[in-house]
């Protein structure tokens, strides 16, 4: 579904990604972890071309992301993305947030878009908030709306960029629950997160990044039982034992 092949990226002369390669198959859940500055967020943003890359190739469902002839809006519409800071549109109600792209990008009728939006709001347990503005919701609620908004486009895969990092601790689980449910339904997911509990529960594979390279790419059981590299072992011991 998502093939990342030998991708490198520079900011000017500063190299942020070096020869990253991995594969996310249909229905697979891949968790990307690593210390801050390791390039994991940058890599996931390369998948839907929010960040350009200079070398290598990324294919999403067979479509090349880096190809200048690719219709990027069309490609992005098929890949849902959830951001660390939610990025709901603050000048629109929850319902408008959910219908905007359905109408403008997919050409659905406003009624059909709203129907779909209502269904998804119900699913994330926020139907009662449909006419509120994002600023009136808690962080956890906003992130659930953001997930619903991404799902409203019927994506073939979902990208999560540290979806719980900006949340208060008591709100993390309500967001993770939605993500677990999504994973169990067979959604293809690439998730940048430090939530190792989530990784243990639903991930198929774990990718560990450091210094812009993929250091480890292993089945979750193998990764948690015995990381191959010292860096991954050190990272795990730091985030798991306190």
């Amino acid at each position: 579904m998502i093939s990342i092949r030998n991708v490198s990226k520079w900011y000017g002369s500063f190299r942020v990604l070096t020869g990253c390669s991995t594969e996310v198959r249909k229905g697979e859940v891949v968790v990307v972890c690593g210390p801050s500055g390791s390039g994991k967020s940058t890599l996931i943003k390369c998948v839907n071309a929010l960040e350009p890359f200079q070398e290598g190739e990324i294919l999403v469902d067979g479509v090349s992301v880096g190809d200048t002839k690719t219709d990027l809006p069309k490609l992005r519409a098929r890949v849902g993305m959830v951001f660390q800071h939610f990025e709901l549109f603050p000048h629109m109600t929850v319902a408008q947030n959910l219908t905007l792209a359905q109408v403008k990008v997919l050409g659905r009728s406003p009624q059909a878009a709203l129907e779909k939006g209502v269904k998804l709001l119900e699913r994330v347990g926020l139907l009662a908030h449909r006419d509120k503005y994002p600023g009136q919701l808690s962080g956890g609620q906003q992130q659930r709306v953001a997930i619903a908004r991404a799902l409203s486009m019927d994506p073939i895969a979902m990208l999560f960029d540290e979806p719980t990092s900006a949340l208060d601790p008591e709100m993390i689980n309500e967001v993770l629950d939605v993500m677990v449910e999504l994973a169990e339904e067979g959604m293809t997911m690439m998730v940048v997160t430090h939530e190792m509990g989530f990784a243990r529960k639903v991930a198929d594979r774990v990718i560990f990044m450091d210094g812009g390279t993929i250091v480890e790419d292993a089945h979750k059981d193998a990764f948690f039982a015995a990381p191959q590299s010292d860096r991954a072992r050190l990272f795990l011991s730091k985030i798991l034992h306190h």
């Binding site: 839907n48 929010l50 098929r78 890949v79 800071h85 549109f89 000048h91 991404a150």
Partner: protein, 226 residues
């Protein structure tokens, strides 16, 4: 010997003054409208990342901001009539009013462009990213997501600039246009009551602008709180 005030020439001149006030308001309204639209286009051009467009917008903004408004008004009074004559032949509408419209619109656009540029930059970058991630085109993302927020953030500044513009319209006296200030001056000159008429005009400008800035301040405190 103290000056003795005589206000008697004002009541009779009110219709004429009102006519002037309408010209003031017309210039103000049109310059706000065109200025904001053209200024927003300039701001988007400047932030587009397109080298040629950005350079044009930067040149435009810096040029108009480096020239006194008075000169721009005079300049368009001399240029616009010639251009109109070339386009429409001799039968033209009021040249002075048209040239004032053009001068103020283009001049104000430079200031509105800077306000809108700050406004666009005040919108978190993630907003554009999330709009693009949903499949919106760059144009749609700007129009539907970024610009509405930029306008909202900048409303107090846009209105403050409008108040300045309202006062600056009095400069059209240099091309002999009888706006509110010009009308007051003419009446005062005719009746030998310049002091009274200018005080009256000043009071009128003060009331309008002070009321408007109070309204802006109230709006600002409302926009500032989430």
């Amino acid at each position: 010997m103290s000056y003795s005030f005589d206000w008697s020439s004002i009541p009779g001149a009110l219709p004429y003054l009102w006519h002037g006030a309408r010209i003031t308001l017309e210039i103000t309204a049109l310059a706000i409208l065109v200025g904001i639209v053209w200024g927003t286009v300039l701001a988007v051009m400047r932030l587009s990342g397109h080298a040629l467009l950005a350079a044009f917008a930067a040149l435009y903004v810096n040029l108009f901001r480096s020239v006194p408004l008075l000169m721009v008004i005079l300049w368009f009074f001399l240029i616009v009539p010639a251009a109109l004559r070339a386009l429409f032949g001799e039968g033209m509408p009021d040249i002075r009013l048209t040239s004032a419209f053009v001068a103020f619109s283009l001049f104000e656009a430079a200031y509105y462009a800077e306000i809108m540029r700050a406004g666009i930059q005040s919108v978190p970058k993630g907003q554009l990213s999330s709009a693009l991630a949903l499949g919106l085109t760059r144009g749609q993302a700007m129009r539907l997501v970024v610009l509405p927020q930029a306008f909202r953030n900048m409303t107090p500044l846009l209105l403050t600039q409008a108040i300045i513009l309202f006062q600056d319209t009095s400069l059209v006296y240099v091309i002999g246009l009888a706006d509110f200030f010009g009308a007051a001056y003419k009446v005062g000159d005719r009746d030998g009551r310049i002091v009274e008429l200018l005080m009256f005009a000043g009071a009128a400008y003060f009331v309008v602008c002070f009321a408007a800035s109070l309204a802006v301040r109230r709006l600002h405190s409302r926009v500032a709180s989430p």
